[in-house]
């Protein structure tokens, strides 16, 4: 199974047509899919809170948005999640590269990984963790759930899910 294609297919099947991304090595394949899909308008952001602003506007303009980013972004976006996405009750699937988990080669990434789930729990953000490739089968249901309840929802995808870092 190609998980990049599966994620893109599910986004398209759920009418997600506005996707903003902040890059991560693990997400390179899925970001490329976003760029190549005709059904998706892909707009790279310079910072994740900016991206959430773009998504809020796109949602009010009638599009279903999504953001693709690293888990370090949770540290950047707490105010935006609380005072924009949650306060105005907007849906936002957040496909998150969960750096600092098993098979992570960069020690500093662990420093935000240890806070990631606690911060999401503190914000009452529904959170799913993809560790095995088969976990992606849940993605379609998670998207439906997100747009049903009009909440930000986090999908943490770790290095094991993406197949590790090769020889690093």
């Amino acid at each position: 199974m190609n998980i990049d294609k599966k994620i893109a297919d599910d986004l398209v099947a759920n009418d997600v047509s506005f996707v903003t991304t902040v890059p991560c090595k693990q997400l390179a394949g899925v970001i490329e899919e976003m760029e190549n899909r005709e059904e998706i308008f892909h707009i790279p952001s310079n910072k994740e809170d900016e991206g959430m602003g773009l998504c809020a506007g796109a949602f009010m303009g009638g599009k279903r948005p999504a953001i693709i980013m690293q888990n370090t972004a949770i540290g950047v976006t707490i105010n935006t999640l609380a005072t924009l996405t949650q306060y105005y009750r907007m849906p936002l699937p957040m496909i998150i590269s969960y750096r600092g988990e098993l098979r992570e080669p960069v020690a500093c990434q662990v420093e935000m990984a240890v806070h990631t789930k606690a911060l999401l729990a503190q914000l009452n953000i529904p959170t799913y963790h993809f560790h095995w490739q088969k976990d992606v089968e849940e993605f379609d249901n998670i998207l439906k759930y997100t747009f049903m309840c009009n909440k930000p929802v986090a999908i943490l995808t770790d290095a094991n899910f993406w197949g590790g870092y090769g020889d690093q």
Binding site: F18, G53, A58, G62, P65, L84, Y87
Partner: protein, 184 residues
């Protein structure tokens, strides 16, 4: 002119258009001067009026005006390259540049010192950037809305605030009312 005087003057120009208004006093002033379903009032999240308005402009065809401030643009400078590189003709970014953080007590911003937001926006790749003194804003804003080109307007004005109440409308009501106006 101070910001509230500017908003009074441009209210007839923006009344029928989708407006995303900056957090704090700008939203409170616009709400008091001319509350419209086509106004989206930001109650929090400093800096994102430009990004929210731009996302809205990309998602549908109606003209969108983001009313931002110099302090808020400085908070989210990174969005100017995003706006420049994905330009859409139905978007106008109006930066009311009074050189101060008005909602927090008129502390000076760097835009009131050495930093030119006009030059920054141009350097970020925005093709049409117009710096205008407060008294001349009306016609410039009208032609920006009417044109097919995305425009960034930097309106230089005086700092100063009026006393007025906070917005007590529920955020979900603001959002729902606004989305109905977008669809109308």
């Amino acid at each position: 002119m101070i910001r509230s005087e500017i908003l009074k003057e441009i209210a007839p120009i923006i009344r029928d258009h989708l407006v995303v208004c900056n957090i704090g006093l700008p939203s409170q002033e616009l709400h008091m001067i001319d509350d419209q379903p086509t106004n989206f009032y930001m109650l929090g999240t400093m800096g994102l009026a430009s990004s929210i308005g731009f996302g809205l402009a990309l998602a549908q065809d109606k003209p969108v005006i983001s009313i931002d401030g110099d302090g808020s643009v400085l908070t989210n400078l990174g969005t100017l390259p995003t706006i420049a590189n994905n330009a859409t003709g139905n978007y106008t970014l109006l930066i009311i540049d009074n050189g101060s953080y008005g909602s927090t007590g008129d502390q000076p911003t760097y835009a009131g010192k050495k930093t030119s937001l006009t030059a920054v926006a141009k350097a970020c790749g925005c093709d049409t950037v117009i710096e205008v003194p407060d008294k001349d804003l009306g016609p410039v804003l009208q032609s920006a809305i009417d044109s097919d080109e995305m425009t960034v307007i930097v309106c230089k004005c005086d700092s100063g605030n009026i006393k007025l109440p906070v917005i007590t409308m529920d955020p979900v009501v603001i959002r729902h009312r606004f989305m109905e106006a977008v669809k109308a």
